[in-house]
Amino acid sequence: MRLSWIPFLLLLSTACSRPVPTVNADARQRPVAWSPAAIEAARSIPLQHEGRVKPFDTLAAFTLYLVHGRRDMQFTFGGPDANWDGKPKNVLTPTEWLLDVWCFPEQANQYPLFRIENAKALDFLFPDEAHAQQQDFVYVSYRKLVEPVAPDRPTPIARLMQQVRELRARQAVKDMEYDEQALVHLHDQFFTYNTLVRTVESLHMPYLLKGDRLQALFGGKGRATYAEVLGKARDVATLAGYLRSLPEAERGTGVMIADELKMLGEEEDSGPALFVPPPAAAPGDHTPDHEKWFQLGDLARLALAGQLQEKQQQQLAALEEVATAESMPARERAILAFRELAVAAAGQRGEFEKVDLEAKYYAWSLHYHALHWFLPGFLAVALSWVLMPFNRRLTSLAGWVAFAFTTIGLGYLTADLVLRCLITERPPIKNLYDTFLFICAIGVAAALVAELITRLRVALAVAPFLGAVLIMLARVFEVSDGSDTMRQLQAVLDSNYWLATHVTTINMGYAAGMLAMLIADVWLLLRAFRVAERNQAFLKTIVRMTYGVTCFGLLFTVVGTILGGVWANDSWGRFWGWDPKENGALLICLAQVALLHGRLCGWFRDFTFSLLAGVTGMLVAFSWFHVNLLNVGLHSYGFSTGLKSAVFTFYGIQTLLLVIGVLGHLARSLSIVRRVDNPAGTDAGGAWRPGAASADPR
């Protein structure tokens, strides 16, 4: 009998009132912090999860995003044996956190892990606690969810499961109320973490050996580890066959152990797989048997069939040492040993190279570096505007510095995109997250080109601003979405040709639409606040820039939209289905065509043109993100609830800017009427000299 086998299910039952049983009581708390060498080694341990081989750190980071809403774990540990490293506040990297989860589950289960933002969800889970004074969110530990709040009362998680079961039976999640969706979300977060905890749970629970024959198999020992039991799994199974013929009282634990191994081997588990199978017999063998890595349960199945190979046994022994060794140095040596074995085995299958690159990619965090260049770049260009009336040389210098900083930021961003392409072996956009980085890069590059042509420092101001905002939004989306940004593609998207053509072109159109909107916003604000009012050439050039970027955008949105239809024709049997995603793209095309035709026929003068370019930017946001919130149509792989509030915030800010532009225009119209009465005017001392701005050499 296992000393303590997954008592979790028992805890879930309403009758259960036991706390989580202690596991491996000798090593419940981590005595010291993980060494940098161990962390560095663990970061790039290859494992298979959600259909792809990825680094340990990626799994840890995205699980943290999903359940914790942050990339790190911060907490102040209470209790008599707390603060083992002497710090009042502990901050764990994703890798350290996952090492704790697998090696010190008792401790990790007490971390303030689950981020609960919904007050009603909190009241539902802990009805006896006062939550009236809570802030935006509360962190709750795993342990608090699985322990009963009072004797003879069900655990919070048991009540949550019951409630979610009823809710799901009644309606689809997307049709639920906001508070109900929060409960379902918390439920899913809990099981994501629980799956992770269970990945190596068997290693923490030695088997109790009862019965002379069974003990004789293990050299007279009273307990055996999981690795030891798997080493003699076939003998145990044979023995169990004999023991079944004996009266129950004389069987010992041999039958139960054999049954449990069989059950483990048959379990389907969505958790990560840590054990590398041997290389495929034939190159390019994509049969599931050769592609799927092994979990602990798979090892039990292989052991019972006598197919457990020596390398897998070595990996298992090393992992058991990582999880259960008495001392930290021993655990850390085992981490290095386990990594070495896993890397060698994955390398033989040609699956480690990309893992190593991915671990480095996240360590380098290139787009974050880009943000660090965009922000000072924007400050530099702002400085150049401030200095302009006073010192031409400094103005020029600040402009060049801004250009250099923004270019360096773009370089980092481009390198980031290239690395993502190399790791995934796909074109730059595979999912919504990628669109942020790609649109950011294209938008910044187009703005820099516009700046090189016009030299007004308007596009130069827009470039780092756009870059910084989109990178920050990408980070927000990454956290709120909480899913691997290099995840496998749905079958319908599995086409590098269409990803490289349709998806890329339509997103270039989005980038141009956003850029045109920002330049138009600048024009509206300059006009509203009467900056450079005397320099019509300068203002005209800004409008021409908006016009040019809109032309650039139209080419890509039209071609991208039609290419999308051609792809849909090959996948779904129709070119156009008035699906929300298709309609969103069409809206941008219509708006841009209307803009250009209205401009050509003289209907849209500078003000109307800029105003409508601002509206077109809102349509870009509608197509890019809002349609994904509607949950309608065939583009279900893009449905998302992330950034809902950001989309509406953007609408609000952009509307405000347009209203300011309209008010400024109205005020200006009134002032023109006044100026007609007094043609000489009184505002000749403006900051801009007529005809000079567009040719400002910086």
């Binding site: 071609v559 779904w572 129709r574 219509l590 050509l600």
Partner: protein, 433 residues
């Protein structure tokens, strides 16, 4: 002067008086209006408004109904939401007149009236591409049809069933052959109450009254628990009330229509029958044909409410279905069908249909749409193909190339002009400085 570079005069007093324009004939006025770029802008605005309201309406009504109401109609009343409980009906033209007018506007203003000069070559090319795209859409709307063909592994089939359209079929047997006459579902869809739509046919010894048509319903045993709004036949009635059977599926693909029929022979009404159409949904390949049978004029007849069917001129056999998942997950990586086209007088032709790779054969295109476990044979699958017949299948792709080339050429030319002008301006400034 080019409108793009014109600046409005700030002082009305300096405006030069212009000579009165010569009177234009009404025909000329219409021509000018149709060729007007301002009309283009108005039509773009209307289409954008229609697209935006139609997209938002899809969250309530589903794609099929919105498509019919907004994008395949001449006009509509759109419900514009002004709050949680406040909607205002706003009249809008449907996409048919808007796109039709746009096509005329494009031909007259964008092609015929445009100056055929080298500088306009790019724009003219793009306009030709858009015209081709609009024609492709019109051909698709008016000529094409599509449905699905669901086959279990090893089965042969040639009957395509519509996803959304229904029809009423009258069946009779002569010798070994079954004959049928069909009536489009649109004919009976308005008979939603007790007042019947009467159907007659040349040579038929009877008429059929159709009543209580319901777009989505399910047969239910009449109990004391509910009041039936429809007739009860042999203790069973068709229930469509969402309060009793749950919210209707948003998409018409998943709705199951039903109606009541009564045979009228020699002025006398016969027994009432109940028709329901759960027929071969893609997920229900094993559903049996169960027409409602009756006798009239000394012969046996059958009536069947079903999704509209077409027959292919050849058979398709599903030899094998294959699916693969990403390792360790249930997420489909690929699913594909190996089929054989069986055509009388020709050698069997094997083909592989998978995502993004349809089979094209004699104007029909077969797309891998769906799959599922064969309910009759464990371990085997059925595969569903969407089958479309669209003469303009490839036209959008060609139009894309034409538009792309046209726009690219035009904008590169415009960009070069812009760069030259900016360089000139900067040079002049430097000389002045």
């Amino acid at each position: 002067m080019n409108a793009a570079t014109a600046t409005p005069s700030a002082n009305p007093s300096t405006t030069r008086p212009t000579a009165p324009a010569p009177a234009r004939s009404p025909l000329r006025l219409v021509f000018d209006l149709l060729a007007s770029m301002k009309l283009t802008v108005v039509l773009m605005g209307l289409l954008a408004l229609l697209t935006l309201t139609g997209t938002l309406a899809q969250t309530v009504d589903g794609i099929y109904y919105v498509q019919k109401q907004y994008f395949e109609s001449w006009g509509l009343w759109a419900n514009v939401s002004l709050g949680d409980d406040l909607t205002v009906p706003v009249p809008l033209p449907g996409a048919v007149p808007v796109l039709g007018l746009l096509f005329v506007n494009l031909l007259v203003g964008g092609i015929a009236r445009m100056r055929w000069r080298q500088r306009n070559l790019g724009i003219l090319t793009a306009h030709f591409g858009i015209a081709l795209l609009l024609v492709a859409g019109y051909v698709k709307l008016s000529v094409s049809f599509s449905g699905h063909l669901s086959l279990p592994e090893g089965a042969i089939g040639s009957t395509i069933r519509s996803f959304q359209e229904w029809e009423l079929a009258l069946l009779w047997q002569e010798g070994d052959q079954v004959f049928e006459r069909t009536i489009p579902g649109a004919t009976i869809e308005n008979a939603t109450g007790p007042s019947p739509v009467r159907l007659t046919g040349e040579g038929l010894p009877f008429m059929v009254d159709v009543s209580y048509f319901q777009e989505h319903c399910t047969p239910a045993l009449k109990t004391a628990m509910f009041q039936s709004a429809t007739p009860v036949v042999d203790g069973v009635c068709l229930v469509g009330d969402p309060k009793l059977i749950g919210t209707w599926p948003k998409d018409r693909d998943n709705r199951l229509a039903g109606c009541y029929v009564q045979i009228v022979e020699n002025g006398a009404r016969g027994a009432m029958g109940m028709l329901w159409a759960p027929d071969l949904l893609p997920t229900n390949v094993a559903a049996p044909h169960r027409p409602w049978a009756f006798e009239a004029g000394g012969r046996k007849w059958g009536l069947e409410l079903r999704h509209k069917v077409w027959n292919l001129p050849y058979d398709l056999r599903l030899d094998k279905f294959r699916k693969s998942e990403h390792p360790g997950t249930t997420m489909a990586r690929d699913f594909s069908s190996f089929v054989t086209v069986l055509e009388p007088g020709s050698m069997p032709r094997e083909a592989h249909i998978y995502m993004n790779e349809p089979l094209r054969k004699d104007g029909f295109v077969f797309y891998q749409t769906s799959f599922g476990p064969d309910p009759k044979r464990p371990g085997k699958f059925y595969s569903t193909f969407e089958v479309a017949n669209n003469p303009s299948d490839k036209w959008p792709e060609w139009s894309c190339y034409v538009i792309g080339i046209g726009l690219l050429g035009h904008f590169i030319w415009k960009l070069s002009l812009f760069i030259a002008a900016e360089n000139r301006r900067r040079h002049e400034y430097e000389v002045r400085a």
